[in-house]
Amino acid sequence: MLRTIYILWLRQLKRYIRSKARLIGSLGQPILFLVALGFGFGPIYAKAGEGNYIQFLAPGIIAMSVLFTAMFNGIEIIWDRQFGFLKETLVAPVSRFNIMLGRTLGGATVAIIQGLIVFIISHLVGFRVSNWETLPIGILFMFLIALIFTALGTAIASMLEDMHGFQLIMSFVVMPTFFLSGSLFPLKDLPKAILIIAQFNPLTYGVDGMRQALTNMGHYTYLQNLSVSVVVAFIVLIIGSYLFSKIEI
């Protein structure tokens, strides 16, 4: 059982390391966001008395790249379906739950690596970790974000036949999740409607937990962030593996 999970995890990693173009390409967006938003809104943010915007923004952008990579890795099942490899795993005498779990852990690992790369890059634009001791907690939150969204991507991809729905997912799931999460702006003093949406967004708690760990600027407590993230991760994993187990070709 562990071997099954391990080999599927390894496959995700190998695919990630081998596609250099994807690796480099996926760094463009976070760098652009850090530079344009960080330096663009920095002066206004400082004038409003909130301090250094880069400090606030960087955890949000790290979360963004974890989110995007994780979703993409989950959705990759559609490619496996189109290129036929999915069949090979589905006729194998192993439980589909283990296949789904191995794949999801692999996707999550890739997403964390991507997040750590952005973490390092953010230091080049002036981000500074205020407490190195809590970095492992930050990585834990990265892992939870990665797990939730890889599993969500898997769940969605299990219901899709081909890539036509991809743009739909980007526009109506991934982008709103990112923009309405407190990644880019503080949650306090938000208009009620936006705040309510953010409170229903699981990414909000992941970003907040990570931000707290890296910069001591949390909105909720660790316990709140952790419990919401863990519960959501479990729910999404269960739904994802259920839908994955129902795939027919």
């Binding site: 080999i7 496959r11 081909d162 070709i249």
Partner: protein, 260 residues
């Protein structure tokens, strides 16, 4: 001894019956050819026999195991080469084999040797570290056959294994298959559109059309029954000369296939 038993098998997609109440059985060691025009229900039948698709009704036993309740035993008993590619092209030939060995629980210390033997058999050992995306169609097919044999299956399903290959490669592949059947007594279940290949290879042939089996027996019997000289002629006589829709499933709305 019957190694495959199919009884009253039916698969309906909404209002279309892709497979309509078919029954047949295959003896251990047989080479069984399953023939029919496009959209006749061949691939749907194979998908049901290999646990990829759930039948609407009917029973299938593979190597004595029921496909509904003993899925894992069924899955261990066969190897399959699908109609279209099923390799991970971002992995090497060796990695594709290794992945399969782990999924099928091949004993760790035997894996290397088994992969070597099989890759040598299909003459790909010297390309073992190349990414599969660099392979030609024929090489991919050979790799898939080698992979399908890695866990010592009792049955090998081959869904149009020679489609789109040149005569040399086709000949090569049939030689492997014949050898496997003779030396290791592996039962072969194949579909093909090349009637002369089916005639030459198979000792039992079934022709399916519009979801129903219209004849079953050896090539001689089918030719006698239809009063024709070649299997191709019998096939055309039995199934008519009109061209069929590409694939029954392609006519289905997209969402149907995911649901039961």
């Amino acid at each position: 001894m019957k190694i495959i038993e199919v009884k009253n098998l039916t698969k309906s997609f909404k209002d279309l019956k892709a497979v309509d109440n078919i029954s047949f059985s295959i003896d251990k060691g047989d080479i069984f050819a399953f023939l029919g025009p496009n959209g006749a229900g061949k691939s749907t039948t194979i998908k049901m026999m290999t646990t990829l698709l759930k039948p609407s009704s009917g029973d299938i036993k593979i190597d004595g195991h029921d496909i509904f309740h003993e899925k894992d035993k069924v899955r261990k008993s066969f190897g399959i080469v699908f109609q279209d590619a099923s390799l991970d092209s971002e992995l090497t030939a060796y990695e594709n084999m290794y992945f399969h060995a782990v999924l099928y629980g091949v004993e760790k210390k035997l894996i290397k040797e088994k992969i070597k033997n099989l890759l040598e058999m299909v003459e790909l050992w010297d390309r073992k570290n190349d990414l599969v995306k660099k392979f030609s169609g024929g090489m991919k097919r050979r790799l898939e056959i080698a992979r399908g044999l890695l866990h010592h299956p009792k049955i090998l399903f081959l869904d149009e294994p020679t489609l789109g290959l040149d005569p040399q490669t086709r000949n090569h592949i049939w030689l492997y298959i014949k050898k496997l059947n003779e030396k290791q007594k592996i039962t072969i279940f194949l579909t093909t559109h090349y009637m002369e290949e089916a005639e030459k290879m198979a000792n039992k042939i079934a022709i399916i059309d519009k979801g129903k089996i219209i004849t079953i027996g050896d090539a001689e019997k089918i030719k006698q029954d239809t009063n024709t000289k070649t299997l191709e002629e019998s096939f055309l006589k039995l199934t008519g000369k009109t061209i069929r829709a590409e694939k029954a499933e392609k006519m289905m709305p997209h969402f149907v296939k995911n649901k039961r």
